[in-house]
Symmetry: C2
Subunit: 171 residues, 2 copies
Amino acid sequence: MTISMYRASVPLFQQMLPCLSAVLDKAAAHAAAKKIEPAVLLNARLYPDMFPLTRQVQIASDFAKGSVARLAGQEPPKYEDNEASFDDLKARIAKTLGYVGEFKPSQIDGSEERDITLVLGGNQRKFKGESYLVNFVIPNFLFHTTTTYAILLHNGVELGKRDFMQPPGVG
Amino acid sequence: MTISMYRASVPLFQQMLPCLSAVLDKAAAHAAAKKIEPAVLLNARLYPDMFPLTRQVQIASDFAKGSVARLAGQEPPKYEDNEASFDDLKARIAKTLGYVGEFKPSQIDGSEERDITLVLGGNQRKFKGESYLVNFVIPNFLFHTTTTYAILLHNGVELGKRDFMQPPGVG
């Protein structure tokens, strides 16, 4: 037995993105309670040359929608990257979840050997579907969700590991 | 076509753990250049109730060795968690890589339906192999590698995204 490409992609995004949305709720509540301007958290970074929180969420969304589209042989939708509030970011996550949720296993399964070409840092990079998903998309997606969480924790939002992810049940 | 359980586990650890080791080299070099006591970085946290850097690396190692062992139906080896230097942490990563590298695909493949029981926070939790790997081990492993990286970046160690991960080539 083996894992399907669908099983290794869409359900992971469906597990992590609602947690990310709930983490943003806690951040918004924290800002309201402490009378912190939300933009302070939205623009917070762990270091000056890192992306701020808003961009981390946008990139996590991009990896989710982009990977599912490309594995299915479709052009990824472009979102405007104009989110300016926690509600905007939550709406983007909801839109991303709506998009990835439309895909059926039959559209993603069998994409292990699909050729996927990206332009990264100005250079063309070729992947096979499996390596694209396992060694590129998943580490990057989790990098940006974790960093969002780390930025908020560092800024005093009370979050536990369960806010980052709910352990799955049996099955 | 599908992904094998081996392909979704061991090569991911073999991709990420050498990067983590190289990141620790950069941290050690940064400490030496700036005359920072290494223990300052080893004990650095993003917030008081988060684990320090040393523990993040230990947990990343635990998810790698623990998952590969459990998927193969073996008892995970216990490491002592007594690392006190960058070299100790690098040795632990090397030991972890040596351990996971001994497993053959035939020992891991077919473990999708294997029952895996963990005790988490005092509660027994049952998983099937596939969900254990995709929805529990991989997000946790990447959470702790990303957090290690975030702690060092926040403390001024110069790291880029390529230090976190090398994009895979074709195949």
